[in-house]
């Protein structure tokens, strides 16, 4: 059964790259929905149920760290959220994890790394 995956990133280019990377990683059971920032992401989360959320950190309007917290506050038991970011500093990762993220994928990434980080959430 297909898994419902929400990708939250302000770059349409990056959203496409993430979708392609997931396919290249051999993960074929994902249906993708897209949101351009945390606010759009919140609307998507309110409208349907997701099995996994992938979120950028550095976004306008509502950044990824605030988005993670808002999802946790709204849903109580949210789906796993994985941050996808060029900012792999311990500080950012710690902040994301403390707000409810279950993992992070650092840009740039390879299909192998996608499989390692995201694969377990889509089995």
């Amino acid at each position: 059964m297909a898994k419902n995956v929400l990708i939250v990133d302000d770059s349409a280019t990056m959203r496409k790259i993430i979708m392609r990377g997931i396919r290249q990683a051999g993960i074929q059971n994902a249906d993708f929905k897209e949101a351009g920032d945390g606010l759009e992401g919140m609307k998507a989360v309110a409208a349907e149920k997701f099995d996994l959320i992938l979120s950028d950190v550095n976004m306008p309007n509502m950044n990824g760290l605030d988005f993670v917290k808002a999802v946790a506050d709204k849903l109580g038991a949210p789906p796993p959220i994985v941050m996808i970011t060029g900012e792999g500093s311990e500080e950012v990762v710690a902040q994301a994890m403390s707000r409810g993220a279950k993992g992070y994928l650092k840009k740039p990434f390879t299909p192998e790394k996608i499989q390692e980080v995201i694969g377990p959430f889509l089995k």
Binding site: S11, I17, R20, G86, E87, K107, P108
Partner: protein, 165 residues
Amino acid sequence: MATATMEPHLVESLQQAAQEILETMVCVSPDRIEQVPETTSTFTAEVVGLLGFTGTRTGNFVVRAPERLARAMVARMLMTEPGQLGDFAAAADGFGELVNMLSGNFKNAWVAQGNRMDLSVPNVIHRGTVHVDTEHAGAQRTCVRVTIGGDALDIGVHFEADGAE
């Protein structure tokens, strides 16, 4: 000129980030990556990506490229042809993401030294002029030039003077 360059390891981390990002996300192997003098703080280029930061120092990433190279890189990121990108908006979005990744990776090296850096979102200017304020004593700036197929991608990092909070 009172403007200084940056510590060698920061330049090296920028070079490594550029190589890794281009090879992994753009699927291109640069012909050459080298530090070059950043002789100005005013830039006129076909494509300029600007991303500001605050924290231990205040400043900007200023990434420049000819439009032909910007389109070619974004097309490779999307596994399409440059002519398929349509108007410049798609290329600008992808170029902005490149700037985002380069600055995020530079931030990692900077933060590892105990510094703080908060990044803005990138802005991409098409055929315009950008000026950043790094002409004063205490400012630092450097540029890493990536040569791809004869075209240059210039990655400038500018720390303003008196940037400490």
